[in-house]
């Protein structure tokens, strides 16, 4: 049928095949890399109104996470400390530092410091801090090595896959309850036994988190 189609058109199926073999994996790889929380969320580091350093407070001074985030083991919500909490020390330590002017202002006016929230669970996800913290899941598991950060950034993807990884194998992530806030702890622990003894039953059905 050379009078309808020139000879080179015989190669079209091959060309389409080759193009598809190149384009399709590229598109899939691109979406997998650029469109997932590992890329879109990890590394988020907004500028905070006060240059508070977790590295100094937690790592150098060894203040327990729960000194400031005092409700994390009692509530679904891990509270951001009020400026009163800051002033417990800073009315004595570095009390005239210009870096702390906003804290002092907030303390006297009662208007909260406008911290920028970094870790956000979507509104269709139910997440409870206390149930995790009281069953040997350390802060570091979801927030990364906060104690080494001068300025906090989003360290873990916090994707659904990230949650499920731990819900499927909690024994790999669990640690002794009293070491939950020891962020740099790296000891041996019988996770299987703890999961059994503490009756840890992380749900995997949709309604565990999507209530």
């Amino acid at each position: 049928m050379s009078d309808i189609f020139p000879r080179w058109t015989n190669k079209i199926p091959l060309m389409v095949g080759v193009a598809a073999a190149v384009v399709l994996p590229t598109v899939i790889a691109g979406i997998t890399y650029y469109f997932t929380p590992k890329y879109t969320r990890v590394g988020y580091q907004p500028k905070q109104p006060v240059a508070f350093s977790h590295a100094i407070h937690s790592d150098q001074l060894g203040i327990d996470c729960r000194y400031c985030h005092s409700d994390v083991d009692k509530s679904w919500f891990s509270n951001i400390p009020s400026s009163e909490t800051c002033m417990r020390c800073h009315s004595i330590v570095a009390k005239d530092s210009p870096k702390l002017s906003l804290v002092r202002e907030s303390y006297s006016s009662g208007k909260p410091i406008p911290w920028v929230q970094i870790h956000k669970t979507p509104d269709y996800v139910y997440f409870n801090h206390s149930v995790h913290v009281n069953r040997g899941i350390s802060c570091v598991k979801c927030h990364g090595e906060i104690q080494k950060m001068d300025e906090v950034h989003h360290a873990k993807p916090l994707s659904m896959g990230f949650c499920l990884e731990c819900h499927r194998e909690p024994e790999k992530h669990i640690r002794p309850n009293d070491l939950v806030t020891k962020l740099d702890w790296n000891g041996e622990f019988d996770g299987k036994k703890a999961v059994h003894d503490w009756k840890v039953q992380p749900g995997q059905s949709c309604s565990t988190c999507h209530r």
Partner: protein, 476 residues
């Protein structure tokens, strides 16, 4: 083929009179007439009735797509379904359309393997109908998911690695259904297309304008009719027939699992797979007759789609309709014999509960109407057959409605009983799906040969070189 001179000299022995089969193409039509008659349908301008029919169908199709846009932008609440009947017209329409598709596969694959030569006159249109019906069927389960964009993401409907690290529930027949229906759609489309290639080449060779030549040439894939082409073609056709044959049984079996695997009284029965398959073939042949009876007279194809074809399809309706009737009876018997009060209640409620009208509509259309076809006189009256075929379509829609809605609206807990009423969006979406179906079918008539030209030629008497007419009148 024998030379014309030889046929006069050698006479084939005449078979005994009572064994003579009615020919599949009447009036000793020569091969050239067959090509002209069938290719002519899509070469000449469409008759006057085609345009109003097409405009009405497109109107229906646009209505359906607009209402789907309304559904997606607003939510599934625009349909009337709600607790306790979470499935209603959506799944009814899905099963209705997917069932209609079954005649195409049965005719094209099973009858091909069983060497039923009469299939050649009806298989092309039946396969086209199958594909269009599957397209209509697919719309309903996809859009009843509500946030339909999730259906496209990996991990929800189709298993693929994804950032959520979830997989669909492999133990759910709803997932098997995704595979069953998409496999069915793909294989049907391939089968239809492979069968079309020789005819597309015929149309290409007859084409006048460059546009037709280009498109028919493109899709006929350089077919020249050489021996090698035919040999490859027939092997491919046989393989596809072999692949499609299990699908005739599997697709509707799996559709029935959507219900039978659950524990809802009225759904949880082992008879469902064969009962659904029989019902699907029943409804499919009903739709084939509804479409082909007008088609053969409007395009003067009575010599190719003969009364014998109509009669044979009526016999299929009779057989499958009887199976369906038996299944209705057996369901009631088992509901009583099984001794489960819930099951028994579900069936009593079907026949005498608030949806009694749908049950008796189903019984009168599906159980009574096919039994007219015990009589040859009625089987060969095309007007009568056409009317009955419409009743079969109506009855089979009601069957799915009865199964789905009457089982759901009253289950174990009387405090949560309810009554489903469709919303206007339900009704118009379903009506619109006929618009989509008919739009596609009218375009098929407009652009493609409605009967498999090359296959019909193969079953004419003159195609047989040993036949007295072989090669003589048939040569063109």
């Amino acid at each position: 083929m024998a030379s014309p001179g030889k046929s006069a000299a050698v006479k084939a022995p005449e078979p005994p009179a009572e064994l003579v089969r009615e020919p599949l193409v009447l009036n000793n039509r020569p091969l050239g007439w067959i090509t002209d008659a069938i290719a002519g349908v899509c070469e000449k301008p469409m008759p006057v009735w085609w345009w109003p029919a097409f405009i009405i169908s497109v109107g229906g199709m646009i209505t359906m797509f607009s209402l789907i846009a309304y559904l997606v932008s607003t939510g599934v609440g625009v349909w009337g379904l709600n607790q306790p009947a979470d499935w209603a017209w959506d799944i009814t329409n899905f099963v209705f359309w997917i069932g209609i598709g079954h005649a195409g596969t049965l005719i094209s694959a099973v009858l091909f393997l069983l060497r039923q030569k009469w299939r050649t006159s009806v298989n092309r249109a039946a396969e086209a109908m199958t594909i269009f019906a599957v397209a209509c069927a697919g719309i309903f389960p996809v859009f009843h998911t509500g946030r339909v964009w999730f259906a496209l993401l990996p991990g929800y409907l189709f298993p693929a690695p994804n950032a959520n690290e979830i997989w669909p529930q492999f133990r759910s027949p709803l997932l098997w259904d995704v595979f069953a229906v998409s496999t069915y759609g793909t294989v049907s489309l391939l089968f239809w297309y492979v069968g079309l290639i020789p005819d597309l080449a015929t149309l290409r060779d007859r084409a006048k304008g460059w546009l037709r030549r280009f498109f028919y040439g493109l899709f006929s894939l350089g077919w020249t009719g050489s021996n090698r082409h035919w040999s490859n073609y027939e092997k491919a056709y046989l393989l596809l027939a072999g692949l499609s044959t299990p699908l005739v049984l599997s697709v509707h079996s799996i559709v029935s699992f959507d219900f039978a695997v659950s524990v809802v009284p009225g759904w949880h029965t082992t008879i469902f797979p064969p009962y659904f398959v029989a019902g699907a073939i029943f409804s499919g042949f009903g739709m084939v007759l509804t479409l082909l009876i007008p088609l053969r007279s409007l395009f003067k194809l009575e010599d190719v789609i003969t009364l014998r074809h109509v009669e044979l399809m009526c016999k299929v309706l009779l057989a499958t309709g009887s199976i369906v009737g038996y299944a209705y009876g057996m369901e009631f018997f088992i509901a009583w014999y099984g001794g489960s009060p819930y099951e028994l209640y579900a069936f009593k409620n079907r026949a005498f509960g608030p949806y009694w009208w749908s049950y008796w509509a189903m019984i009168s259309c599906n159980v009574i109407s096919p039994h007219f076809f015990w009589f040859k006189k009625l089987r060969t009256s095309v007007v009568f057959v056409w009317i009955v075929s419409i009743f079969v379509n109506i009855g089979m829609w009601f069957e799915r409605f009865v199964i789905i809605v009457t089982s759901l609206h009253r289950d174990y807990l009387p405090s949560s009983w309810g009554y489903f009423t469709p919303s206007w969006v339900d009704v118009m979406t379903f009506v619109g799906s006929f618009g989509l179906f008919m739009t596609l079918f009218l375009l098929f008539i407009r652009f493609l040969p409605v009967i498999a030209i090359s296959e019909v030629k193969g079953v004419t008497p003159q195609a047989d070189p040993h036949h007295p007419l072989g090669g003589a009148k048939g040569h063109h």
